[in-house]
Amino acid sequence: MNDLAGKNTIISSLRDVFKVREAPIFIYVIVMIAVFSSTIDGFFSMKNFEIISRQITTIGIVSVGMTLVILSGGFDLSVGAILSFAINIGGQGIVFGWPIWIVYPFMLALGIILGWINGFLITRLAVPALIITLGTMNIYRGITMVITKGVYITPIPSVYSFIGRGYIPFLFYAAVLGIFTFATLKTRFGRNIFAIGGAEESALYSGVPVRRYKTIVYIISGFLSALSGLILVGKSGFVQPQAGLGYELNAIAAVVIGGTSIFGGSGSVLGTFLGSVMLGIILAGLTMLAVNPYWQGLITGVLIVFAITLDSLRYLKR
């Protein structure tokens, strides 16, 4: 009797695994690794995985923040601009000769402040987050360009490169993934984010402090953008005003390909991670195959349309 019950739970939990939203994308990722590994010499190597991990980290971290924002029913187009603002304006500290233990917190604080400004405006104005962050994106970038006059900060002290060495960026990424996977699934914060994205009024009437949580989500997004900026500086060894350009769209792509609903209320950080991995693998594979880089954009586009089609089918089925 007990054996039977045990067996049934195994079967049903196996079935549950395939019902999981992330299952299809996980399978695609595996298939893609298999295909590239069998067709490209040297694809399946530690060296290559290190390269891929380094490539996906910066946008990957931004995408985690974007996931929270989209889960809560919002959008944040200003992530790339915040990244650039944080490292360039914060980078003025490097120019002034401030020590790293002041520059880093300063950069992260800038990310938090800009995120808070987004959240404040979004929760006070009756305008969609997409439009507000479209505005703040241009404002943040504008300020960055005005102050830096488009000039790179280089050379920078070598201590700033430590964070960008080898697998260190990926360790940061893994930590961010771990923290926010846990936060979305197991904490009050996570529940409230899903609730707000699912039906904001319902959440309000259930006593959820909607404004506060929405603001927090944009603050987190701003913070993670700045963190991603620190790593970018570490990897490149200089600070450039154009940093983070186009990150917002790549991050949204990873979120959507990862199965998070563009309307909010359902999805996961894990899915976004898989979305980022998928984009990273495609990029690496196509580069190694010496495919014209223009094809990469096309393939990313097809994936996005495909993912959104799946998402809307979910709605149509009801």
């Binding site: 904490t187 529940r191 699912g198 039906a199 009024e201 259930s206 006593g207 959820v208």
Partner: protein
């Protein structure tokens, strides 16, 4: 005749229709009744081509007809008027009537004169003097419905399905609709009339089909049955009492409301609520009751007034969270928009207001959550496959029970129930009245807002009549006779000094 033969339809995990067979005679008004989740909507959607996949067959005009789209059903002679009207408010009456099949002249130009003439023709037939050029959004809901009926007539529909057609009509408009239905019937059009309201069914229908839990319970001639019999067929038991008896005793003062105003919505509202009491707010739609409830709950700001709670004077609630943490819970009339997250599970929905309690250290305590949620599910016999089921897949009555359980989990002292029985069936209504009754036995107080007068009178200890944003009169349970109350609500009979409490 139209015969529905052995029709079944399944959704993942639910058998919505199970081997349904009955016939509808041409030219009759056929009532389709059943509790929520009985399968009425599913059947309508099959007949109107929205659900093309089902088992069994539908025969009319002597041949099996299977519609694969709403468009096919319409051209095949079946028109459906859904509860949520499908008129396009920005367009004119004529444009709506001819939507999708506009008569054209050369080069695809719209033939306005034909559209206008034909529109006038059908409008005259229905005895409704509407201007075909009028924008539909400016019409009353009743007239918008007429436009939909005109659409069906222009299509030469032989069967018109009406889904809860009276749900947003006034009494007078309902009478008008019945005149229209009779006229259609004279013309030989068959009507499938779907409704919750037994009185209406008995007034307008020739025969009645009852569904329950996806099964066909019976099809009877109106002349050979009675409302009581139909109700007992619907619920599967006889309902002698519409309302459970009130036995709670009035205790100490819970809530006192003084001079609440929110300009443009309600003015100078004062009342008290005691332990063990249900106070009913009767009024027409738009009388300001929901607005009052929302402001009281802290969802909107007050202009004047103050609230006393358990003897303490507090100014007002700044946020719903504030109200909830002091033991005041609000059930919104808008189940889908303001009550539930349809995509989340039953468990996640129910635990939302008590997350603080079950996540004292920020992390949600899964076991405690399941235990609490499960206890309420068993208590209220909510039908579901598991507590992780997505709320959207539950029936209306069960969804409502999920919301109520969610509020009860907060262990509040004061409950504001705004239209808690809207759109749910007789059996589920009775259960909700019972839950309210039980709450008052535990010493809680309930503010009960409803637009259905019989239930306000049947459930409440005191009844407040609200009209145009003001409390105009208070009745005790014994004084409140339906005619008297209705007079106060509807007529402009101004009762001076009628301020309550």
């Amino acid at each position: 005749m139209i015969s529905i033969g052995k029709v079944s339809k399944s959704f993942p995990g639910v058998k919505a229709l199970d081997d349904i067979s009955f016939t509808i005679q041409y030219g009759e008004v056929h009532g389709l009744v059943g509790e929520n989740g009985a399968g009425k909507s599913t059947l309508i959607k099959i007949l109107s081509g929205i659900y093309p996949q089902y088992e069994g067959n539908i025969v009319f005009d002597g041949s099996v007809r299977h519609f694969y789209s709403a468009h096919e059903a319409q051209t095949g002679g079946i028109a459906t008027i859904f509860q949520e009207l499908t008129v396009i408010k920005e367009l004119s009456v004529a444009e709506n009537i001819f939507l999708g099949r506009e008569p054209t002249r050369r080069l695809g130009m719209l033939d306005w004169s034909v559209m206008r003439d034909k529109s006038n023709e059908v409008l005259q037939f229905l005895d409704t003097p509407l201007d075909p050029r009028e924008t539909v959004g400016k019409l009353s809901v009743a007239n918008q419905q007429i436009v939909e009926i005109c659409k069906a007539l222009v299509l030469n529909s032989r069967i018109i399905i009406m889904d809860e057609p009276t749900s947003s009509l006034t009494e007078h408009e309902v009478d008008q609709l019945f005149i229209t239905i009779r006229r259609l019937k004279e013309k030989g059009i068959t009507i499938l009339y779907v409704s919750h309201k037994i009185e209406e069914i008995f007034e307008i229908c020739d025969s009645i089909t009852v569904l329950r839990d996806g099964k066909h319970i019976g099809t009877v001639e109106k002349t050979e049955t009675s409302p009581d019999e139909v109700i007992s067929m619907m619920v599967g038991r006889s309902m002698n009492m519409m309302f459970p008896p009130r036995s709670a005793k009035k205790g100490g003062l819970l809530l006192s409301v003084r001079d609440l105003s929110r300009i443009g919505e309600f003015e100078h509202v004062s009342f008290d609520l005691h332990e063990g009491e249900i106070i009913g707010f009767a009024g027409l739609i738009g009388a300001g009751r929901t607005e009052l409830a929302r402001a009281l709950f802290g969802a909107t700001a007050l202009d004047t007034g103050e609230i006393g709670l358990y003897g303490d004077r507090i100014d007002h609630f700044a946020h719903p969270n504030d109200a909830l943490s002091r033991g005041v819970a609000y059930l919104s009339e808008d189940r889908k928009g303001e009550g539930l997250m349809l995509e989340l599970s039953v468990r996640e929905n129910m635990s939302l207001p008590i997350l603080k309690k079950i996540s004292p250290y920020f992390f949600v305590q899964g076991a405690r959550e399941r235990e609490l949620v499960q206890s309420y599910i068993s208590k209220f016999k909510i039908r579901m496959t598991s507590i992780d089921q997505i709320v959207e897949s539950l029936s209306g009555g069960n969804q409502q029970k999920v919301i109520i359980s969610k509020l009860l989990l907060t262990e509040s002292k004061v409950f504001i129930f705004d239209e808690p029985t809207r759109g749910i069936d007789v059996g589920a209504k009775y259960e909700i009245y019972k839950i309210m009754n039980d709450l008052t036995l535990e010493g809680k107080g309930i503010i009960f807002i409803s637009s259905e007068l019989p239930e306000v009178l049947g459930v409440s200890d005191r009844i407040f009549c609200m009209r145009e944003g003001e409390l105009v009169q208070e009745f005790t349970r014994d004084e409140a006779e339906p005619e008297k109350v209705m007079k106060v609500l509807a007529a402009g009979e101004n009762l001076t000094g009628g301020d309550a409490a």
